[in-house]
């Protein structure tokens, strides 16, 4: 699909394909955009629970619901960065709790290998976060989002996804 992911990602980061309706404003005070790929059974419900418990967290996260973290293709992560995400979160059921028995293990294994690849491509791997959030952990969802947002903000050159070496 991609001949040169690095170039692609770099070019795409500069592009403004079409500006999103609501997300206008100065780059400086804008919260870094996070795209979260979450599973339908644990983390999505955990995020819903944060809502029903009226907890508050940073508004910069955009959730993409999938049946299972096992469905998450590493190319989704690449695509998210290409489309200007400053951080990508992958979150699913705790080990042993997967609704589909083993999807989260597949995802974890894939993530371990993919992290190195991303790093090799020059992407700062601090921008990819992997976590287990169960349906009862609304508070964990909130803290993961807030901490991840702060982590991205604290990175040198926070708007550039490539690591500074």
């Amino acid at each position: 699909m991609e001949n040169n992911i690095v170039e692609d990602v770099q070019n795409a980061q500069g592009d403004k394909e079409y500006p999103a309706g609501g997300a206008k404003g100065e780059d400086k005070d804008k919260e870094p955009r996070i795209i979260a790929f979450v599973c339908n059974w644990c983390t999505y419900n955990g995020a819903d629970l944060a809502g029903t418990s009226r907890m508050k967290y940073a508004e910069n996260v955009r959730v993409i619901k999938l049946p299972c973290t096992g469905r998450i293709d590493p190319l989704f992560v690449v695509e998210a960065f290409k489309k200007g995400a400053k951080g990508v979160l992958v979150s699913g059921c705790h080990p042993g709790d997967c609704h589909y028995t083993s999807g989260n293990y597949h995802s974890r294994r894939k993530y371990t290998a993919f992290r190195d690849l991303l790093s090799y491509l020059g992407v700062d791997i601090n921008r990819v976060e992997f976590s287990w959030i169960s349906a009862s952990e609304g508070n964990k969802w909130v803290s993961v989002i807030n901490e991840f947002t702060n982590k991205i903000k604290s990175l040198p050159g926070s708007s550039d996804i490539f690591s500074k070496k």
């Binding site: 394909e17 809502g51 508004e59 993409i64 590493p74």
Partner: protein
């Protein structure tokens, strides 16, 4: 061209209080493909749903996006409404702007921006939706139960009483399992054979149950509703229909000294032609060909044949393969006990009077080798002091297994109690780690053993057992008093840990169900789907899932039965259509997908030309088994599998809509 309708729900002030719903609708209307965007106070109300239905009809919508509460709340509500207007239910998408926007953010402008983003994502997704049909699978209304122990028997009886045909397969010559070997059962002390034999007979006589004993499962293929099974009926060497169970054959068999009885756990002998125990069901003997002189000495001995009145002994019978078609399967394969010889310091195998708990059951039982009189295996004397050691193998990650075997605390208390009843003036000592007596009447039962029967409970482990002057000297620790103890015992009974039945892993592989590292079958969900295996149509019961007592085994058998009766109550099995599908043109047949599938839903399919030559082998998704997790999609190197409802292009469209 997509014609998408957008509905922004206020949810009273729940959404409208934090999100500018009017603006969301305005922005939505600008998205290409959106024909109309409206906001409404309560979309889930009847008038709200009617608005939705009206617009689907009037604007001839091809897709609907609702910006509302979580899809887990009302997705079904809106899908049902859409179906009434002839729209495929999977063309409804929901942007979650309540739980994940209005309730968690305070800044109205930012919340509105996020709501618009989420809405856009869903509009882009719904544009790429394809109609999905729910899958309907025909059902063969017949069940297979593997294992004729108490849980298998319970499952078979419940299913059969529900009016469904059952095939019960048992490996041993008789049904009854481990329970029929027990003497009396805790905590009520009812005799095991008294409550078990009527059930066994009921199975045998039930018009809806076909019983195959001395038979094993050979092969399983197919899927929920449509399993094909092959059962190997091992050669009994008896023409079953003619046998009266009179016993003339086994009474005359010359091989009565050499073969240990499995039923009496090696405490007595049996003949080569035998029934495992007098109340066996069916009461038909079997010839153990590995020891029978006829088979070992080239046909010289045929005493049983000569003695048999109805002449039903046939040495030439062969194993038989029986094929059956069933719609559901219960795996109730039971358990084994660990090897006691693992603990050399206890001297099992070396000292005749160190026995296992199951052997002690046989010594207590009226149908046992001593007819219920407690006698030492070594010299036949009645023991006066018995030491019971609990947790032999259980809760011992180093040498045994880390889990608790659950039943040993209770049966040891029962053993001590029955011993006190049978041998007056006797003394029991019980070494334990913790006492786990958690079901109804259990705690009182153990307390009764301690207080009324005078059993002495010592919290600690035994370090060594040795023989001295006809006594077994048991050295151990009493950790509560901090003292070393030394007891001169006549007998030692080991409460050995429970492990899955030998071969349960092979069975699981044959059935395509998952099992844990010990070999116990794993439930589909440990709390909410305890009777189901990971594979649709295969249910679990009894100790094959893990240690449990008789009431729990009975409950699990009934649970599996009720699941099957529920499944069979419909004419077809229906599953959500959001499952994987293979592009057979691009599939290269590497079958990485098959490796990651937790549901055995992927099979090999041969693509043939018109002459029947195989062109290539590709993956095929069995819609009855696929659960729709999508793990195979990512395992596919050639991008030939996609997940309906979560297609790659849909996800990419969602991401793309977020471009900043």
């Amino acid at each position: 061209m997509a014609r998408i309708g957008v509905f922004v729900c206020w949810c009273g002030s729940n959404i409208a209080g934090t999100v500018d719903v009017k603006k969301v609708a305005e922005e939505a209307a600008k998205i290409p493909g959106v024909v109309e965007a409206v906001d409404y106070k309560y979309m889930c109300s009847d008038p709200g749903q009617n608005t939705l239905r009206k617009m689907i009809k009037e604007k001839n919508l091809t897709g609907v996006v609702l910006a509302a509460c979580s899809p887990h709340m009302h997705e079904n509500t809106f899908r049902k409404a859409a179906v009434k207007e002839g729209l495929n239910p999977y063309f409804i998408e929901i942007a979650n702007i309540r739980e994940q926007v209005s309730w968690v953010h305070e800044d109205k402008e930012k919340a509105t921006g996020k709501a618009i983003d989420l809405l856009k994502m869903m509009v882009e997704k719904v544009k790429k939706n394809k109609p999905i049909e729910d899958v309907r699978v025909p059902l063969t209304k017949k069940a297979l139960v593997i294992g004729g122990g108490i849980s298998g028997i319970q499952a078979a009886l419940d299913i059969a009483n529900g009016g469904v045909e059952v095939i019960l397969v048992e490996k041993e010559p008789s049904i009854g399992g481990k329970m029929i070997q027990l003497d009396e059962t805790f905590p009520t002390l009812d005799c095991s054979s008294c409550i078990m034999t009527p059930k066994m007979v009921e199975v045998y006589q039930h018009p809806n149950i076909k019983l195959y004993t001395y038979s094993e499962l050979e092969e399983v293929s197919g899927y929920i509703g449509n399993f094909n099974v092959k059962i190997k009926k091992k050669a009994r060497s008896i023409v079953e229909k003619d046998c009266t169970g009179c016993g003339d054959c086994w009474n005359i068999c010359p091989m009565h000294k050499n073969v240990k009885s499995e039923f009496n756990v090696n405490l007595s002998e049996r003949t080569a032609i035998y029934v495992p125990f007098p109340q066996a069901v069916p009461l038909i003997p079997v010839i153990d060909r590995s020891v029978c002189l006829h088979f070992k000495k080239g046909g010289k001995c045929q005493k049983c044949y000569d003695a048999c009145g109805p002449k039903c002994i046939n040495f030439d019978l062969q194993d038989e393969i029986i094929e059956e078609k069933v719609g559901a399967i219960v795996a109730a394969t039971g358990y084994d006990l660990m090897e006691n010889s693992l603990y050399g310091e206890y001297g099992y195998g070396k000292f005749k009077d160190v026995i296992s708990g199951l052997q002690f059951e046989r010594l207590l039982s009226a149908s046992g080798p001593t007819e219920g009189v407690v006698k030492r295996p070594s010299d036949g004397k009645t023991p006066e002091t018995i030491v019971f050691i609990q947790c032999v193998g259980s809760r011992d990650p180093e040498k045994g297994v880390p889990y608790c075997s659950k039943v040993c605390c209770m049966y040891t208390a029962k053993h001590a109690k029955l011993f006190a009843h049978k041998v007056h003036g006797s003394q029991s000592y019980v070494f334990y780690i913790d006492i786990r007596a958690t079901s109804k009447g259990y705690e009182e039962f153990v307390r009764g053993t301690m207080e009324n029967e005078g059993a002495i409970y010592l919290r600690g482990r035994v370090s060594k057992i040795y023989e001295d002057n006809g006594k077994l000297i048991v050295k151990g620790a009493d950790t509560l008093s901090g003292n070393q103890v030394e007891i001169a015992a006549d007998m030692v009974v080991l409460a050995t840990g429970v492990i899955p039945k030998k071969g349960s892993d092979k069975m699981a592989q044959m059935l395509g169900i998952s099992y844990d590292k010990y070999g116990f079958y794993t439930e589909s969900h440990p709390k909410l789907r305890p009777a189901e295996s990971s594979t649709a149509g295969i249910y679990l019961a009894g100790m094959a899932q893990g240690p449990r007592d008789i009431p729990e085994s009975v409950v699990s058998g009934s649970a599996a039965a009720s699941k099957i009766l529920g499944l069979f109550s419909k004419s077809e099995y229906e599953v959500e259509g959001t499952i994987a599908s293979v592009n057979k043109t691009t599939c290269v047949g590497c079958f990485y997908c098959k490796r990651v599938c937790a549901y055995s839903a992927i099979s090999k399919e041969e693509i043939k030309d018109r002459n029947g030559n195989v062109l290539k082998v590709v993956a095929n998704v069995n819609s009855g088994l696929c659960a729709g997790c999508g793990a195979c999609v990512n395992a596919c190197f050639s991008k030939s599998i996609d997940l309906k409802g979560y297609l790659d292009e849909q996800i990419f469209a969602e991401i793309k809509s977020l471009a900043v």
